[in-house]
Symmetry: C2
Subunit: 210 residues, 2 copies
């Protein structure tokens, strides 16, 4: 869509503050753009598995290999946080078009005794020496270890830093220079709180030089 | 692609550590999934504008409305960081298919005297009472104020927390419940360090209940 600049409207902070709460949640959740979305798999000390969809996820660094996650402790992923703190390990599983509805359903507020794997029909898969469960339906899975937990006083969210322990994927989608064609793994993206999108590759661009 | 699970390979930490440096950078930058990518516009005290592409960007909270950014100070966006710290304000501009090549080019290591706007042919646009420059070619722009800066000792990156001051968009893409159809704004996503993707909407799903 080629919006004319003249059509653009400027919505200022006071208008955003005056928005109805759920309207504002949708509005603000939309503005950061498309999100890295995935399912976080965990297990408690008593071997209760848990699965939750997260989209406040980002690359933090390649050397050491680190990922960042924002957790809102007041909502359902609190079981995820408890399990991560109990065992230190968790998994991040890319979501495919084939199971995004089940992935979304993991956001429901199930009781802790209920495994979202069972509740949504997704399949836990364990590697022999990694404690946290992967999602068998996912074609791209990352095993992680908690390194740091920071409480962000500005809005009472939790910022987790995790180190990459292993990556499970189809080797054929790794290109010669290490680039992984995640579109070939069927990875999808999300926007706002409840919208899912597949992607179509435009191009890879060469290293930018002045 | 329906990869058979039997085709998946497990690449463990020691293998990742043994990868050649640039190969590992591509590999690890691919694993977090599709990224929120945009152009950050800044201005120095001496009115020198700067524009840089960022993809370590995430939603941090809706109330207050906050976004998070990871900055790697050793590479070119250091001018961005300097300007943000000098003026406290910056802009985040979604990238469209029409100018993603120019957006990518802002990653080149220009000298501080060079404005990436001029170097790449993108157009700075100023709103009357907001100091930082927007990108005129972008159909979706967010004005931000720096709230907190945290140095992450684990890998010497900088974590910025910014509050949303204003959002500039075509009002017609805001749905009744506050959801913004960013696909209609032409917003694209990225993967790895240099790959760009358009999206195709699958669905919005209802609020998940057990």
């Amino acid at each position: 869509m080629n919006s004319q600049n003249s059509l653009l409207k400027r919505i200022k902070k006071d208008e955003i503050l005056a928005m109805e709460k759920r309207f504002r949640a949708n509005f603000i959740n939309s503005i950061s753009g498309f999100k890295s979305v995935g399912l976080i798999g965990t297990i408690s000390k008593t071997k209760q598995t848990n699965l939750a969809i997260f989209s406040q996820v980002f690359h933090l660094g390649a050397n050491p290999a680190l990922m960042g996650f924002i957790v809102r402790p007041e909502i359902s992923p609190r079981h995820t946080l408890e399990n991560i703190e109990e065992t230190n390990y968790f998994t991040f599983n890319h979501i495919n078009e084939e199971f995004y509805k089940q992935a979304h359903q993991t956001a429901a507020r199930y009781e802790k005794e209920v495994s979202e794997f069972e509740a949504t029909g997704l399949t836990p898969h364990f590697e022999n020496d990694f404690i946290a469960p992967y999602v068998k339906e996912s074609h791209f899975r990352v095993g992680l270890k908690l390194e740091e937990k920071h409480e962000l006083s500005i809005n009472n969210t939790i910022f987790l830093i995790a180190s990459v322990q292993e990556v499970i994927l189809n080797e054929e989608i790794i290109e010669k220079d290490g680039y992984i064609d995640i579109e070939k793994a069927g990875t999808i993206t999300s926007s706002c709180l409840d919208s899912y999108h597949v992607t179509k590759h435009l191009d890879r661009l060469p290293y930018a030089k002045p």
